[in-house]
Symmetry: C2
Subunit: 334 residues, 2 copies
């Protein structure tokens, strides 16, 4: 596993140095922050030799992993990972497959990471489709939603596995005890929803002891359920709606606060409380979206990650490795 580095059982994370919109310097700074924050984590810095060799040379817990190509955000994911065999995403995923690392973190193209991880790390045996998961930021508490976009078209039975995997994540990483699972639907009654949603409801009810029924869009931010499961199309629309609404609303509240001297003074008094709220609403607490169902830990960060977000992503990947997330999923779905 970590024989490349210290030879210990430390978690080894491949970091995609070219991933993200803000350039490799931001990623390298994020790696430094992660190394400083967690004395155990070790990093395979995956990128062009001229960048990663110098960087690794002065850092005992970093090894270089050479990859010359970058997959851009606008490339077609499946074609790009097939065509660019020497891209950071492909080389990084292969390193996980080969056991040189146990986890992969990238702030690059979500689609390319999905395609790369599925093709080159591979699925856990018995998993129909890996699913992308997300911890929904909310003032009321955390909700784990899956799928948030890996599978735009789903079969109802896939959602059973999405729910099982998200339940493991909710338990081992988010710290939920006996997580409840709900299906994202458009009414609380069993018979509500599209044909697809009704079929999902039935198959979830038949297969999951922790299935609690239907959730509605408004429940996502109320933390009424621990896990909310849905197809990747609906999940992606709901997540982006939620994030967009909270961003616009906080911006509008800020606008009110900055409108005159009296409101500015008022805002000063609220600074601490509002910062707390902002932190609770921040998407970065869990470092990104874990792709569950592949045979290795894989976490995808926001494209516009700053060094702090890169740090969070690396540390979150290490936490998933240390929690044996893959083995825990294997236990549940077999």
């Amino acid at each position: 596993m970590a024989e490349q580095l210290s030879g210990s059982d430390a978690p080894v994370v491949v970091v995609d140095v070219l991933g993200g919109d803000n350039g490799h310097d931001v990623v390298l700074t994020g790696i430094d922050l992660a190394l400083a924050a967690d004395p155990r984590v070790e990093v395979l810095a995956c990128g062009p030799a001229q960048i990663v060799d110098v960087f690794a040379s002065t850092r005992p817990r970093v090894q270089p992993l050479h990859a010359t190509q970058n997959i851009e955000m606008n490339e077609h994911p499946a074609s790009a990972v097939r065509a660019k065999k020497d891209s950071t995403i492909v080389v990084g995923c292969k390193a996980v497959k080969e056991g040189r690392a146990q986890g992969f973190f990238s702030a690059g193209s979500t689609g390319a990471c999905l395609a790369g991880a599925t093709l080159f790390i591979g699925r856990i045996r018995g998993i129909s489709r890996p699913a992308l998961c997300h911890v929904i930021p909310s003032p009321a508490g955390n909700v784990v939603m899956s799928d948030i976009g890996a599978n735009a078209d789903c079969k109802p039975e896939w959602l059973v596995q999405f729910a099982q995997m998200a339940t493991v994540y909710a338990e081992k990483i988010v710290g939920k005890e006996h997580p409840s699972v709900a299906l994202l639907n458009i009414g609380s009654e069993d018979t509500k929803g599209s044909q697809f949603a009704q079929e999902c409801h039935q198959v979830l009810k038949d297969n999951l002891p922790n299935f609690a029924g239907n959730a509605e869009g408004g429940d996502l931010v109320c933390a009424k359920y621990d896990v909310v499961v849905t197809d990747g199309f609906t999940g992606n629309v709901a997540l982006k709606t939620l994030e967009g609404t909270s961003k616009e609303l906080l911006k509008a509240v800020k606008g009110v606060m900055m409108s005159n001297l009296a409101t500015k003074l008022g805002a000063l008094a609220m600074k601490r409380g509002l910062n707390g709220l902002k932190t609770r609403m921040s998407a970065d607490t869990y470092g990104g979206a874990p792709l569950l169902g592949v045979n290795g830990v894989c976490l995808i960060g926001h494209g516009n990650s700053n060094p702090e977000a890169i740090k969070s992503g690396i540390l979150a990947t290490a936490r998933m490795i240390e929690a044996n997330l893959v083995e825990e999923i294997v236990k549940v779905v077999k």
Copy 2:
């Protein structure tokens, strides 16, 4: 049309006196507020004789319309409107069909109103499916979304009509000039989304001169497009997510403001600005969700409407009548 009442060309609205969670007194108070606010509007008060006769007797612009039954929120909509022929929803919709009124307003069961209006007012000739529309409250501006729940399962070509009808509503009622239409999807590129979304994209592109491409969940609250079209399942999830997020977030901001004396004083300074924001975010500005595609005006209010919301609903119904909304839709879709 209005020969029951003044014999003028005043807009006549049937109001479901038993509709809503708060009892008929709230609805009657709402009617009084509407009559006071708009000197033209006339009302057919639809409910049990012992309630509506006394009410109408002292109000020259109100006529009673007798209906003995009520459809509860938890009843199966299609079965209920078939079984309860003397319910306020069925009797009210029939009065529109018969030309005794031009519009129907209810804060009762959305499903029963949809079923009642479709069965007893009937569709506009050429319309495949009526769709429920909603003006999304946002700090940035208004977006008309359709369908928000009338059709959980859709065919791609239905969305063309949803878009055409919502465009008429956006133009005539919301006051948009040359409204743009976008498809709710999970990526901006043409090839993104589920199989269904891709087919919708193609058929919208082929048929709508004002089609502007894909919108994402985050665009709903940014007013980037004037009309966003989607199937009723996705639309309902997105709308409830948006409403739930804004409610929880404003509650959390309020919590911060009430945390100590200094923050309370600060909140006082912001009161005016925050009230303005709250009004802009309020769902009541357009009185409820219009059902477009039936052969008469039909507006469905929130179940928990207070008298102000009932008033808004009645006035909005009257505005749609005066704008000849049904005729305008007929022109566009034929």
